[in-house]
């Protein structure tokens, strides 16, 4: 267990067992357990109600899928604030496909292609033209949102294939929506690869010192483009799941999604200045974020408190991980 994490952070093997990140993820885990315990007690078991649990887990899944990609992006010291618009665009493509009666497979292919293309454009400008990621994605955020408005032409997209809801949300294994299991597999596999495959380490290296990867003859540009494409693809998958959860597309669909995703990644311990971060952490971060949202509703708290809790949580997460860092350095 402990191996994965340390390698993630420092990539070293020996300190695996005592790694700080392990401890950090452990903190997250304990925090989650505490909130769950608290909710179990205070809500008369409503938290464990099948419907509530499914709804929370599906929301976690939607954020987590995109967060896997966002973690890679953030490790390379990039950022993707266009994710919400890309989600909206993908959903729009699905709705238009449904409206024109395209076959399901073609709809899915178009949706995933949309994500990949959006990711490619980001990656291309960032890797090849060296435009800072925040600028590129600020630009595409704006452009894709406009595209959604224009494509929907003022109406709602309602012709969403029923399959998304059936597959991901209605289908359950051990009472838990299928998608959540898939997300767990995604997190474990991609986390393992980041630590134990050459490519995973290249991604960390790239985030640590891009210039050095160029000098070392690594295919830096291609790798960066690839990461943004993957990130776009995963956002498109998130879009399909979210259409399962709510099969209508509005012009505002996905707005603010990027913030949830970035919050999850950062609460999960990734450093925005690149070079570190873990997929498992991002997953736990997503759970934490959604649990807070859920608690606000279950406990009949004023919804504005979500914002305060989230804001404080993000800052504290970073403070904690920074202070551990310092500890590590000396």
């Amino acid at each position: 267990m402990s191996q994965t994490t340390a390698a993630t952070r420092s990539g070293s093997m020996e300190s695996l067992k005592h790694s700080f990140l392990m401890k950090y993820e452990f903190i997250l885990f304990v925090l989650i357990a505490l909130i769950v315990l608290f909710l179990s007690i205070t809500t008369d078991g409503n938290f464990w109600n099948q419907g509530n649990l499914s709804s929370v887990l599906v929301s976690v899944s939607i954020v987590s899928i995109a967060a896997v990609g966002a973690t890679l992006v953030i490790i390379t010291s990039g950022i993707d604030i266009s994710a919400g618009s890309v989600l909206g665009l993908t959903a729009t493509v699905v709705a238009l496909g449904g409206q024109h009666g395209l076959p399901l497979w073609l709809i899915i292919v178009s949706a995933l292609a949309t994500g990949c293309i959006a990711g490619f454009i980001n990656g291309y400008l960032i890797a090849v033209h060296k435009v800072p990621a925040i600028i590129v994605t600020l630009g595409t955020l704006s452009i894709w949102r406009s595209a959604v408005f224009m494509l929907l032409g003022g109406s709602w997209g309602t012709d969403i294939p029923m399959e998304f809801s059936e597959w991901f949300i209605m289908t359950k294994l051990a009472g838990v929506p299928l998608i959540f299991w898939l997300v767990i597999v995604l997190v474990l596999v991609s986390g393992y690869m980041m630590n134990n495959r050459k490519w995973g380490r290249y991604i960390y290296a790239l985030g640590n010192n891009e210039e050095a990867t160029v000098f070392a003859g690594l295919p830096t540009k291609r790798l960066l483009v690839f990461i943004y494409v993957i990130a776009g693809l995963l956002v498109a998958v998130s879009a399909l799941v979210s259409l399962g959860q709510s099969p209508i597309v509005q012009s505002s669909s996905g707005q603010g999604f990027e913030l949830s995703v970035i919050a999850a990644v950062v609460i999960g311990g990734a450093s925005i200045s690149g070079g570190r971060g873990s997929i498992m952490g991002a997953f736990l971060g997503a759970i934490l974020v959604e649990l807070v949202r859920n608690a606000v509703i279950l406990l009949h708290i004023q919804p504005f408190w979500t914002g305060v809790v989230m804001g404080v949580m993000i800052i504290i997460a970073v403070l904690v991980s920074l202070s551990r860092d310092k500890g590590g350095a000396n």
């Binding site: 070293s12 093997m13 050459k198 003859g217 070079g275 350095a329």
Partner: protein, 504 residues
């Protein structure tokens, strides 16, 4: 048998600067080829061209007789070339082991990274270089600069390349580490590797070079075989002046022990870094500090300067006990510090050369309407360009366009312009060419002659010998010896106390 690598008439310019002008050079397996030249002569540019970082504007390259185009660094790697660059680039948050093996990882049968195998492979090299194996698992950012330099050497060794290039690998290494390195280089040569070696420490080259090429202003001005090598000849060739005419030496008078020391350090200590540091520095003296990499010299200096807090001990300035919590306290009390890590602690890379030079004395250059006094700035610039012979196009050029040695001179000049009581210089002439180094040594001595106290930390033994009036030796965080310049066999004594034999 054709040469391993042959460069023919390579030219490269950056904007108006002609860094290389029809340079030709050929490298043979089993031979060490030294490249010498003044700062800015084009040595690093040549290396970067070989490694595919820069593309030549003209000229051809042949590998074993076949023409090649090295379009990017990965082509160079595939050809079996590897290099330790002058400003080594590392991945701060990855472990030392990963930094070494990133590009050529060892994989197990599953295609996963096999860290245990990597460790086994690197261990013998660590032992040869005297590099503590325990450090392999630390994040590299936690290592001191000297250790980081060793890591990049390890990396070049483990790649098992047929051409290995060292661009000033010993700039801040001390005699012990250098000996280890040379043994390894001998071993490489025996195994038929070609080695390119760049250094401003010409005495090193006498020991290991099989041939040498001399660059001046981007042009090849000479080639010498092992038999023809001599320091005086190289110097003359490099600078175009006859160095034998050079008349150095401001003699420093011995400090007057009865006077009050400028700075007195009492029992300074910091957990795990250094202990019981006592030292006194008098006005008008140059106090040298010698030691191996990681001996703790920089740490002591950093805490005197307020960058790091010491746990124990006191600092007195001119008889008064002072608290220095931040470099700005130190500067206001008349202490200046030239950091050893030029790239991350010294240079403002987007800024102009003149802005870099005046970044400390800025407040004294006030002109009308609170603006910067342009005339004074220009005067200052001209003055230090002359004193330090900085080679640049215009003062408004970005400092990043300068060669490594010239950047060092600008950062050094920054402190010379300030009125100080004590100037701490940490590896002041790293990467500086021999001629300028002598000038800088003279400058240091004349500053001292005017009453400044100077503390010089250096791994360059000849430098310390020529500049200091007194030398402290540190070993594992303690001062283990003190010598003064009149002692016999000084070099030998310094060396042995630095590694822990001998003592006061």
């Amino acid at each position: 048998m054709p040469h391993l690598l042959e460069l023919v008439d390579i030219s490269k310019s950056f904007g108006g600067t002609h860094a290389l002008k029809s340079v030709s050079i050929s490298l043979q397996a089993g031979k060490l080829h030294a490249i010498v030249g003044e700062n800015g002569a084009g040595k690093s540019t040549l290396i970067k061209t070989i490694m595919g970082v820069h593309q030549p504007d003209a000229g051809q390259m042949f590998v074993e007789g076949e023409p090649v185009k090295i379009a990017n660094p990965s082509v160079a790697r595939k050809l079996g070339f590897s290099a330790v660059f002058q400003d080594p680039l590392t991945y701060p948050h990855l472990s030392v082991l990963e930094n070494i093996f990133l590009t050529d990882p060892i994989l197990n049968k599953m295609g996963n990274l096999d860290f245990a195998a990597m460790e086994r492979k690197i261990k013998p090299y660590c032992e040869q270089l005297g590099f503590d194996v325990k450090l392999l698992h630390r994040e590299i950012r936690t290592l001191r600069l000297g250790h980081r330099q060793l890591v990049t050497i390890l990396k070049a060794l483990v790649e098992d390349a047929r051409l290995i290039i060292f661009d000033e690998p010993t700039a801040i290494l001390s005699a012990g580490e250098i000996d280890h390195l040379f043994k390894i280089i001998d071993y490489l040569k025996k195994n038929n590797r070609a080695v390119v070696y760049i250094s401003h420490r010409l005495e090193e080259l006498m020991r290991i070079a099989d041939e040498a090429t001399i660059l001046t202003d981007g042009r090849t001005v000479g080639h010498r075989t092992k038999e023809e090598l001599s320091i005086d000849d190289l110097l003359t060739k490099m600078s175009g002046k006859d160095m034998r005419d050079y008349q150095p030496d401001v003699r420093l008078s011995k400090p007057d022990g009865s006077r009050q020391p400028v700075v007195e350090v009492k029992q300074l200590g910091k957990q795990g870094q250094f202990e019981n540091i006592d030292m006194q520095i008098w006005p008008g003296e140059v106090l040298g500090v010698y030691g191996q990499v990681g001996a703790g010299r920089s740490e002591v200096a950093l805490s005197m300067f307020g960058m790091r807090a010491a746990d124990r001990g006191e600092v007195w300035i001119e008889g008064r006990k002072v608290k220095i919590k931040h470099p700005k306290d130190a500067i206001s009390k008349g202490i200046g510090y030239l950091p050893e890590d030029r790239k991350s602690q010294g240079v403002f890379s987007f800024q102009s050369i003149s802005n870099n030079l005046i970044s400390v004395v800025f407040r004294k250059l006030r002109g009308p309407l609170f603006s910067l006094n342009r005339r004074k700035t220009n005067e200052l610039m001209e003055k230090y360009q002359k004193i330090l012979s900085i080679k640049y196009g215009a003062p408004s050029d970005p400092i990043s366009s300068l060669s490594g040695g010239n950047q060092q001179k600008v950062v050094l000049g920054r402190w010379m312009a300030e009125d100080l009581k004590l100037l701490i210089l940490d590896e002041p002439t790293q990467g500086v060419d021999v001629m300028t180094k002598r000038q800088i040594h003279d400058l240091i001595k004349s500053l001292a002659a005017e009453g400044l106290a100077v503390l010089v930390i250096s791994s360059d033994l000849p430098e310390l010998l020529s500049v200091s009036s007194r030398i402290l030796v540190m070993n594992r965080g303690r001062i283990v010896a003190e010598y003064d310049e009149t002692q016999d066999d000084l070099a030998q004594k310094l060396l042995s106390s630095a590694v822990g034999i001998g003592g006061k």
